[in-house]
Symmetry: C2
Subunit: 297 residues, 2 copies
DNA sequence: CCAGCGTTATCTCAAAAAAAGATAGTAGCT
DNA sequence: AGCTACTATCTTTTTTTGAGATAACGCTGG
């Protein structure tokens, strides 16, 4: 059974004429006859009354319902990829907790305004997990810390973050090695790239990674820091946005450790759905604008 | 876009291999490549990741949903016509009021027991209207009084009825011409074949069709006869079934007028859905059994 | 009842497409 | 680095499709 045959069949059913159906689909009457005949042979039943008025038989009417479902699904699939202007369908984004909290809200809002028909799904997790999700095709794109080693991926530097030490008390200098050793550190669960920085930081002070508590959410983590449980390391922007709420304090870290980039990663552009393509487009523009602003200031 | 290509695409998506997909659908790998490639060209997007593991891209996953809808609809359509054993779908039956009341209930019950997946739709109307519905394809088959003149139709004599005169008082002889002239007659609405018999009956008594009241339902009609409004003419079986309820009385009519056959009519068998085919089969058997019973007794 | 008109079925040929096999190229694995 | 298993490409054969010409059919009006 071919979709082409079903289209011809529907045209015959609607126009009540083989000639008219042929004209509508830009072909000749003999082809309509052949296609209908083939459908009839395939299903073992006469689909069209030829005697007198040309119209669908009972069997034909029954087929109409299924043909409509098939053709509608086909048309929708085509318009998903070939539809001009508005994208539709689904966009699954993976992002780190900190990116989700600070960077994503305005981006997603802008995207939703531009593409209201796209169903946005957001998954949060540490970098390593996000990379895994991306490679398994469980997300369409992701925001991760650090360049993806994988070749054949589209990578775009999205945001630059400055990591700061976060504690419950005001700090002017780095706490002593002993103080660090005595404190707990809060981090996202295994695979978080910020966690590596914490370990790097502790190592640079000659301290072995001591107690590291794992958290799944930013709020819980900051809450514990505020309660004096210990320290954490987070992007300055993320902490600033929550400073007042939690009553926490920050200290700049050495540049070598502090600077971290967030990248937008996705498979090759050739594999993108229109929804993803327009998201990447928007992001690219936003980043360029961002960089211009930085240059200007 | 071809359904065949979509099947191959789904097989690739499921098996994660072009070779396996080819094997599953009994073809060779090069054809799988060609079909997928054609799909990709048509939609302007890469559907399958070839590097490393073979798996659907984001765009491919989006297509999967539509492909499933198309292929499911296709499979259902095929099984509607080619499905062995149980028929499914819809069966639209047209029947006269009297047939519906007396003959159809046991038949429909038996059919529903045999084909529980068929959605039965019953339309009631006079013969002329039913013939019209049948010719317009608004019912799949019909029970009508009198042979259908139309050629290219499947016709089966389904039931033989004996018409009787129905009145509110016991009758031993035909009412006088004057009594008939003074009385009203109840009939179904225009197009009812029994109504023609009433007029024939009156004519044979030299009486012009006087007042004929039209009814849409059997119950209403018998109720009015019982109330002494006048006479009607109906199959004996139909009246007998309601005699006690209404307190009405019958009188045999002359054989020439009394005898009337109900036919099962439908388009050519080649146009039948499996649901209609099994209904006609059942009916045919039932009629044969009926005739054997009559012969035996 | 028959001729004329419009419609569908059939036939034919050329062109296009699909299927299958052979081969080359590529990625992952040891 | 070489082996293995996979996909892409190329080629040939076969099948299918599309379009035109023509025959057959069924209405309709005289």
């Amino acid at each position: 059974m071919q979709l082409k045959s079903l289209r011809l069949f529907m045209a015959v059913a609607e126009t009540g004429s083989f000639v008219a159906a042929a004209k509508r689909l830009h072909t000749v009457q003999s082809n309509v006859t052949t296609h209908i005949k083939k459908l009839e042979e395939e299903l073992g039943v006469q689909l069209i009354h030829r005697a007198g008025r040309v119209r669908p038989t009972s069997a034909g009417l029954a087929l109409v319902e299924y043909a409509e479902r098939m053709l509608t699904a086909h048309d929708e699939a085509v318009s998903l990829f070939k539809g001009q202007e508005k994208a539709c369908g689904r966009l699954r984004i993976g992002a780190m907790e900190t990116t989700t909290a600070l960077r994503l809200p305005p981006i997603l809002a802008a995207y939703h305004a531009a593409q209201p028909d796209v169903d946005i799904q957001l998954k949060t997790g540490p970098t390593a997990e996000l990379v895994e999700l991306l490679l398994n095709g469980q997300v369409d794109c992701a925001f991760v810390a650090g360049r993806l080693e994988h070749s054949r991926s589209h990578v775009l530097k999205a945001f630059s973050e400055e990591l700061v030490l976060v504690g419950s008390m005001p700090m002017t200098t780095m706490p002593s090695s002993q103080a660090l050793l005595a404190s707990a550190f809060m981090a996202f669960r295994q695979g978080c790239s910020y966690r590596q920085r914490i370990e790097l930081l502790l190592a640079s002070y000659g301290v072995n990674a001591g107690r590291i508590f794992e958290f799944g959410s930013l709020d819980a983590m900051l809450g514990c820091v505020a309660a004096g449980m210990g320290y954490t390391v987070l992007p300055r922007g993320t902490v600033d946005a929550h400073k007042h709420r939690f009553g926490i304090h920050t200290l700049a870290l050495p540049a070598s450790i502090a600077h971290i980039d967030t990248y937008f990663v996705a498979p090759e552009p050739a594999t993108w759905t229109p929804a993803l393509a327009s998201f990447a487009d928007m992001l690219c523009d936003a980043v360029v604008v961002d960089e211009l602003n930085l240059t200007a200031s």
